[in-house]
């Protein structure tokens, strides 16, 4: 039996590519939660960013404009979250559920309304996608070469991981943001502007979520499909708990899920025999693996490690 290296090479490349949107969502969750605000609605934020980017790119035929629109949406959603969760002091779980309802429905409505209004056919409404940009030299390394043969946004993701980790765990400002998540009263008494910090952090989280959503659309086929993020935001929430709010562990967990997703794609292809509907094999089992993996590892990490969970997570801060 010949040992086929190219299978693994492809798998590694796909893993990194599929993990990147999850990593972006994880970073968004981590930013928000380390400053003490739940962000269970990140799936909705991703979808809103994705649809804004997609429709703008569709209307203007320009990917950069699409990205700008998506990022602007991220900022807008972040401001909205800030207004409700910081200024008004809303219940953060109900707010998240609002985003979980609005994200899929509004994105599907806007797409349907745009396509219907311009009398486009669903088959012709595609946007140009990011092509892979190989890094010279690095992409020639055997086995791990495909890691450096990705769309630019994937490299941006790696850089953001490093920056986020450095910011939170190696700078004074990051410590301040974390102190807002642990004890806002103490942070306030030390002169930190708690509402401002939470606003800025929510906007950053919104931008990261929008980036993740856009990577799902523009890095993929270039066609829109409803619920295009397919639960990646939900998995990201779980992964941040798996990684115990530490960037490097979360990143590792996201890579594992990326590997699961990549193998799922392969396994489904093998077991469904190409025609997805005809086989009786329950290949859906593979799709549930990322979710079950997340639940199992959260259970383990909660039971046997010292939790790094921000102490004031989910509590709106009110002065006085």
């Amino acid at each position: 039996m010949a040992f086929d290296l190219s299978f693994f090479t492809t798998l590694i490349g796909t893993t990194v590519f599929l993990a990147a949107p999850i990593v972006l969502a994880c970073l968004g969750v981590q930013w928000s939660e380390l400053s003490g605000t739940f962000i269970f609605g990140i799936e909705g934020e991703m979808l809103l960013g994705a649809v804004a980017g997609f429709l703008t790119a569709l209307a203007t035929h320009s990917i950069p404009l699409g990205i700008v629109a998506g990022l602007a949406t991220g900022v807008g959603v972040g401001l909205l979250s800030g207004f409700f969760e910081v200024t008004l002091g809303s219940d953060q779980i109900i707010f998240a559920i609002a985003l979980l309802v609005i994200g899929p429905s509004l994105s599907s409505y806007l797409y349907g309304a745009y396509v219907g209004g311009h009398e486009l056919s669903a088959f012709s409404t595609s946007i140009p996608t990011f092509g892979p940009v190989p890094v010279p030299l690095l992409s020639q390394i055997p086995l791990v070469g495909p890691v450096f043969d990705q769309p630019i946004l994937v490299y941006v993701t790696f850089i953001l991981v490093i920056l986020t980790h450095f910011f939170f765990y190696h700078t004074n400002l990051g410590l301040k943001v974390r102190s807002v998540g642990m004890n806002p009263l103490a942070a306030d008494s030390m002169g930190t502007n708690v509402p401002l910090v939470r606003y800025i952090v929510l906007i950053i989280a919104g931008i990261l979520a929008a980036l993740g959503g856009m990577l799902m659309v523009m890095g993929g086929t270039g066609f829109w499909s409803d619920n295009v993020t397919a639960g990646r935001g939900l998995i990201a929430i779980a992964l941040v708990r798996v990684g115990n709010w530490r960037t490097q562990l979360t990143f590792g967990a996201a890579l594992v899920v990326g590997l699961l997703l990549a193998s799922v794609a392969d396994l489904q292809g093998i077991f469904s025999g190409g025609g997805a509907v005809t086989t009786t094999f329950p290949y859906e089992v593979f799709s549930t693996l990322p979710y079950l993996f997340a639940i199992a590892v959260i259970g383990i990490s909660y039971r046997w490690t010292r939790s790094n969970q921000p102490a004031s997570l989910g509590r709106p801060y009110k002065r006085g």
Partner: protein, 365 residues
Amino acid sequence: MEQGKKFSVWRRRSVEIVLSIVVVLVSVVVGALLVSFEGRSPISAYGTIFSSTFGNGGNAAYTLSQSAPLILVAMGLVIAFRGSFWNGGGEGQMLLGGITGVITTYSLHINNTVVLLLAGFVAAFIVSGSWAAISGILKVLFGIDDIVSSLLLSATAAFVVFYLVRVPYASSSTTSAAVLASVNIPNAAQFPSFDGISGTFPLALASAIVLAWVLAKTKFGFRLKVLGSNRNTAVAYFGKGRTDRLFILIAFLSGGFIGMGGMAMVSAFTGNIVAGASGGAYSAGGFTNSYGFIGIAVVFLAGLDPIASIAASIFFVSLVIGGLGLLVLMAIPTSLTISISGVAILFVSARVPIMDRLRALMRRT
């Protein structure tokens, strides 16, 4: 003293009701803005929604009937949130309840309507309840956030149902590969209707009344209230083991009622379960109409009150039904009306702090 207290309770109630109406109005206005994005007239859109829901007696009866599944889902969520179980997995639980109802009534080979319906509802209650109880157990044993685990389990349930609909209980009549439908329930398992109003509606009303009584008057209702307001107090009063068991029971009952909602949907309206080709992350093919999420808006708009939840359910269901009318008559995507309910949830989330501010303002004047 007594009279002053009564007055303030009355005043608080009326402020709450006014606030709920304001939330509804604001979300309706946002919906109007969304309609004009497409260049349509919002007034004729809302006219269509109204005429297709309450325009004539037949439509009104249909809308009331359709609110039954949502009322049942809302009952499950009232139990959950009163007991501080954050059930975000209503979508998956409702879907499971629906498929359980289909499988039970399909495989029993009995022709008695009462037996079939009873078996279907009990099976749906048990299966969905157990699914939700997993989240309760995970919380008690491992401390996993109940909202995280219920959302993840909801997505898992969607894939399970997708498999069941694709292979063992696939409809033989489906030819299109893009849409998968389950087998139909036998005719005997269809919920009878009276004067155009489905029998599920009185069933839902009865459950709401019973639940209101249980929550207000029984020992269980009291324990639920204690656990919901402060877990530490509950542990101090009842002991940890009993509190944990109570929490798991709450999760079970919550999922059970939501599963009954799925069974009501199947037995009175759809007759089968349709799943999209993609499987979907948390709503396979739109069988649930997002009721698992909309139910959350319902119960918080109703201030976690079972009886008020009925009115709120009818409002949201008329949005959903009106959305179908919009699709047929004006070709506006149905997702519009779900967005409107999303906006309502958005404002409902700020309800408690706004109430506090209003109270502070009133005290000052």
